[in-house]
């Protein structure tokens, strides 16, 4: 048997170790979206605030839009909220909110307290519209292009880096 074969177990170990090392750097809780580059799903929601226009699939055509899934009971939503406020003040992009599994009065109180960055808010008490979007937790943030396709999904709260490294460059690319 050639001498070099004695190195085979070591090589095998190196391969397995490299494979597992890569696995350790990935967060298994964050799933790739099945909806990337697909048209935004079909949904039709009533407005969170009575009297406002509702939020449905038809609203996601013609503009680059940021869709944010949020709930008043969600602590990370509170953490990312200032970033959304800043985006809204800069008027960089239309921001539509999907209020997920939340009571109307709680959500409205939350927005009164922290400010309302949303141009449109749909109220999804049952979570059914969320399922259409593939939501499995809040917050989640999506970017929709002019053709109404989902181009980006962020699971969990946005942080400064998410905004500057991922979202803002993509908005720029999509609005060109």
């Amino acid at each position: 048997m050639p001498r070099i074969l004695f190195l085979a177990p070591l090589a095998l170990f190196a391969i397995v170790a490299a494979y597992l090392a890569v696995g350790l750097t990935r967060d298994a809780r964050i799933l790739p979206s099945a909806l990337i580059d697909k048209p935004a799903p079909q949904f039709d929601l009533k407005a969170l605030k009575d009297g406002d226009p509702g939020f449905s699939t038809a609203d996601l055509k013609g503009d680059v839009i940021l869709v944010n899934i949020f709930a008043s009971w969600c602590v990370p939503c509170r953490a990312e909220h200032p970033l959304l406020m800043r985006l809204a003040q800069d008027k960089t992009i239309k921001i539509y909110g999907l209020n997920w599994k939340d009571r109307k009065k709680d959500a409205i109180a939350w927005l009164n307290e922290l400010g309302d960055p949303y141009d449109l808010i749909g109220h999804d008490l049952s979570g059914r519209a969320g399922i259409e979007w593939g939501v499995y937790g809040v917050p989640e943030t999506y970017l929709i292009d002019r053709d109404g396709r989902i181009r980006y999904k962020k699971v969990g709260p946005m942080v400064e880096e998410t905004l500057t490294n991922e979202i803002l460059p993509l908005i720029q690319e999509l609005t060109q």
Partner: protein, 178 residues
Amino acid sequence: MTVRFAPVFFLLGAILMLGAGPAWAVEPDERLADAVLEARARVLSKDIRCLVCQNQSIDDSSASLARDLRLLLRERLVEGDSDEQIFDFLVARYGDFILLKPPMKASTYALWFGPPAIFVLALIALIFFFRRRPAPESAIPAPLDGDERARLAALLDDDPQSTPAPPTRTANHKGERP
């Protein structure tokens, strides 16, 4: 008196425990009146992952998303969807990860065939190793020399009266044996 009945109590306790079973996440208000559809729903929901807890099926999980998915599953069953249609609906929204059993397709071949392939390779390597491996030299004893043969013959001699060959391996050999 009570001691006499102890086995009876023990047996009674054991029988009661048999009936207890595990607690289910499926709430009574979720269940369908149609027993056949409900049974199908239970079977299907055992293969659907709860994305909140990730290592539980929606049948086991008490997360609210799992409940929503159970209700959705039952609605679609009532509407007459096939198993395939239900799985396709969920995969379109959540990806293959929602299936506890990964589908067989090009990107999962390594997952499905990897372990058997490694097993077969290991088996081949093992057979190769044992068939080709030469006996190590140290394992073959050196042939006896003249003196040793004579001594062995003497030791094997049936007649205890015969004079044993004088031990030739003396001082100069001592300590040299491995």
